[in-house]
Structures are given as C-alpha cells and as structure tokens.
C-alpha cells in the first residue's frame, strides 16, 4: 500500500482528472496538448487547459510524474515508478468495485 500523502486520495475532486493523466502517461511520455488528445481518444473526455495545469503540478509534487527537459516551449511529462504503483492500486480497487456491481446487477436485475 502506498503512502496516503502520495496517493490519489489527497487530490479530492481532481482525482478523476489525475487518473486520466496517469493512464495516458502510462502509454509513454507526453506534453500537455498530446496528453489532452490522448485522453480524448481513449476516454472521450476533453480535459480543459486550466484543469490539466491544476492537476499536473499536484502530481509532480507528489512524485507521481516528472517533468522532462523542455523541447522548445513544450515540456513532456513521464510517469514515475511510484505513479505507476499508485495507478495500478487505484485500478485494482476500481476493478473490485466494478466486479461487485456487475455481479449484483446480474443477480438482482438480470443485466448481463
């Protein structure tokens, strides 16, 4: 279990955007705009620029991502090992919830 100070718990209402950013960076280093496009593609969600740049510094300060050397004005970000662990734990917890929900829907409401 990771330190709660460095997990997604303390991000409050930004936790959703944080998961999207970490998931995107799990596929490779990306700068801000590339990250937004990737999230749009796999999640169908457009991250507004203000929200993106509110969450990036928080993830950086928690050591979940690092900023790489800027290429002109574009600065790519990389997922850290700690960031990968936190994302994996979050996904595992969500999968448990999904499985429970699916099973209960199937049993009580006959949804496949």
């Amino acid at each position: 279990m990771t330190d709660p100070e460095n997990s997604l718990v303390g991000l409050g209402r930004n936790a959703g955007a944080a998961v999207l950013i970490l998931s995107s960076l799990a596929g490779g280093d990306k700068h801000g705009y590339a990250l937004v496009k990737d999230v749009e593609e796999f999640a169908g969600v457009h991250l507004p620029p203000g929200t993106l740049y509110q969450v990036l510094p928080r993830l950086e300060s928690r050591g979940l991502i690092i900023a790489l050397e800027a290429d002109e004005r574009r600065r790519p970000y990389r997922l850290t090992a700690q960031g990968a662990t936190v994302l994996a734990e979050y996904i595992t917890a969500q999968q448990r919830i999904l499985k429970t929900g699916q099973a209960r829907l199937k049993r009580s409401w006959s949804f496949a």
Binding site: E5, G12, H31, G32, Y33, V36, P48, P49, G50, T51, L52, Y53, Q54, L56, P57, R58, E60, S61, A70, E72, R73, R74, R75
Partner: protein, 349 residues
C-alpha cells in the same frame, strides 16, 4: 501567410492575457508550456467560453493558493509563510476597524451611568481582544524585523528592498504620530476642555481616555469626513486621518516581508499556533461585537453607523477575516508533513 501570422500573434496575445490570471511563481514555472498549449487549443477551436472560464477559474484558484487560502502545491515552508503573511495582512486590515469600533464601544460604555452586565461583559471582551491582537501583531513584527535584519547582514537584501522601504516609511510615520500621543491624551489626563481628568487609582478612566484618543485617530474609517474634535487642531486631524491607512499599508508590507524573508525552522513551527490565535481572537471579537450590538451596546447613540451599508460591509469583513485566517492556518498545518523524512524546507535554520 500574413493572415496566418496575424492569427498566430492574436492567439499568443490571447493566451498571454489568460496567463495573467495566474500568480507570478506559477507563470515562471508553467507559463511557456501553458501558452503553447493554449495556442494549440485556439488553433483547433478558436472560441470557447467554457475553456476561458475554466482557465480564469483555475487561475484564481492558483492565486488563492499563492496567498495560502487554497491547497497549494508549493513546498510546506512556502505555504506556512503564505498563511502567516495572509493572516497578518488580514489582521492589519481588521485591526484598524477593530480599534475604531472598540474605542466607540468603550466611550459609549464610559458615558453611561447604568452599565448592564451583558454590555459590560462584551465591552470588556472587546477591550481584551483588541489588546491581545495588538500584542500578537507587535510580537510578529519584532520577529520579522529580526529575520529581515539577519538576512540583510547576510547580503540577501534584494528581495526585501521594496516591502522594507514601505514598512520603514509607514512605520516611521506611525512612530512620529505616536510622539504626539502624550500630547493628545494629556487634556484627558490633566482635565481640560471640559474633561474630568484622571486619577491613577481609576484604571477604567485611563482606558476610556485611551479610547477617546484612539477614536480620534481611527474614526475616518467609519465616518468618511472627520471634522476634528475638541482640543485637536485641523492639521493634527488630517495627520490622524492618515494613521489607519498607514497601519494598513504597514501591515501589508510586513505581510510581504513574511513571504520573502527566510524564517528559521524553529520559528516556522510556530506559524500554525500564531495564525490560529490570530483567527481565534478575530472570531471572538466578531462574536463579542455582535453580542454588544444585540445586548443594546450602541442604544441611543445613532452615530455609531451613520451609513447603514458601510456598517454591513464592516460586519461582513469582521465575520470573513477570522474564517479566512483560520482556513489559511489549517491549510498550512495540513501541508506540513507528519514525519521527519519531509522536513519543512525553510532555509536559514
């Protein structure tokens, strides 16, 4: 081609305008990539009100974080300094209103023959709270001045030049005004111009006389035109009117110094209790002031609030300050790591 260049320039200007909503430290770190990001967004979708609102809203949030009123990503030391700076700045604003209200409450109380217990209790609470706030602020100023002098002797005076100059000018003005304090209070002590005079065996009278002088030097904040009173000369009245403004500006300069000066770690540990005490005292003052009003403190004295709306503005201010001060203190405390591995990154320890 020219059209495209004009469009690019226009987008860059638009992005730069939006960037201004963010604090300078944030702009320094993320400004370039953020502008680049916005330019790419503009190229794809030129107009989007929701996007602009989002940027402005998050910019304001970042500014609130910069002054310690929102969870900031800055290091714990910076958050502590921001909280203390904001606490002192708000307290400086509040203290000029507090001393004015207190002096009037005190004068109303001392001018009465019959003193109901609730009015006496709330007036006493206002007196004690004002005294404690002034003592706490004086202690903070002494500590900050010591830290500033230390930093200047270490040859790191550059970031402190502007706030130090403002603090010295306004502080000097306040000290020069304090020079007249004995002269201002002497008619009340000796007994002149229709005043009874004072005996050391009656400390209540001393406080009432002090309130009279404080009222003279702070009333401009409630009544915009100060016609002068009793033994005070017109020039002295004008100088007196500048005192609250000087107190506020001096407080803001001290708050700026707190943000820029290197605070030793052993003092940084006291930030939360200091801010919490400021917030608690402001809160007690607000409650006592409400009680004083409810229990008939200002009855038969309609001069207290000539302008109803101004009175409401002051009430909102008095209620808001403790909440903001306590919030900044709690955020500073939350930002401090619990374990030894993340020690406060405050230099000069």
């Amino acid at each position: 081609m020219e059209l495209r260049m004009n469009s690019d320039l226009h987008d860059t200007r638009r992005a730069m305008r939006l960037l201004r909503w963010y604090p300078s430290a944030w702009r320094k770190r993320y400004g370039e990539e953020f502008v680049d990001h916005l330019e790419q967004e503009f190229a794809e979708r030129h107009s989007n009100l929701g996007r602009s609102v989002n940027v402005v809203r998050k910019g304001v949030v970042a500014r609130l974080g910069d002054i310690g009123l929102y969870d900031s990503v800055a290091n714990p030391g910076a958050q502590s300094r921001a909280a203390l700076g904001t606490g002192v700045g708000l307290a400086a604003l509040m203290v000029v209103v507090m001393v004015d209200f207190w002096s009037k409450a005190m004068l109303v109380w001392s001018g009465r023959r019959y003193h109901p217990i609730p009015v006496t209790a709330t007036t006493g609470t206002l007196t004690v709270v004002v005294g404690l706030v002034l003592v706490e602020l004086a202690a903070i100023v002494i500590v900050v001045v010591t830290c500033v002098v230390r930093q200047i002797f270490r040859g790191q005076a550059r970031p402190l030049v502007v706030p130090s100059t403002i603090a010295v000018v306004t502080g000097g003005f306040l000290l020069s005004e304090a020079r007249f304090f004995p002269r201002l209070i002497s008619p009340y002590i000796r007994g002149a111009h229709g005043f009874q005079g004072m005996s050391l065996s009656r400390p209540g009278q001393l406080i009432a006389n002090l309130a009279q002088v404080v009222w003279e030097t702070t009333q401009r904040w409630v009544d915009f035109w100060n016609p002068g009173y009793g033994p005070i000369s017109p020039i002295q009245t004008v100088v007196n009117d500048c005192v609250p403004l000087a107190m506020f500006v001096c407080g803001i300069a001290i708050a700026l110094l707190i943000r820029r000066v290197e605070i030793p770690q052993r003092i940084a540990r006291l930030v939360f209790p200091t801010v919490a005490l400021l917030g608690a005292l402001s809160g007690v003052y607000f409650v006592a002031y409400l009680g004083w009003n409810l229990f008939g403190g200002p009855s038969n004295y309609d001069f207290f609030f000539r302008d109803k709306w101004l009175g409401i503005v002051y009430l909102v201010l008095l209620g808001l300050v403790p909440l903001l001060v306590i919030r900044s203190g709690l955020l500073a405390r939350r930002s401090q790591p619990s374990s030894e591995r993340n020690q406060i990154e405050i230099v000069g320890s």
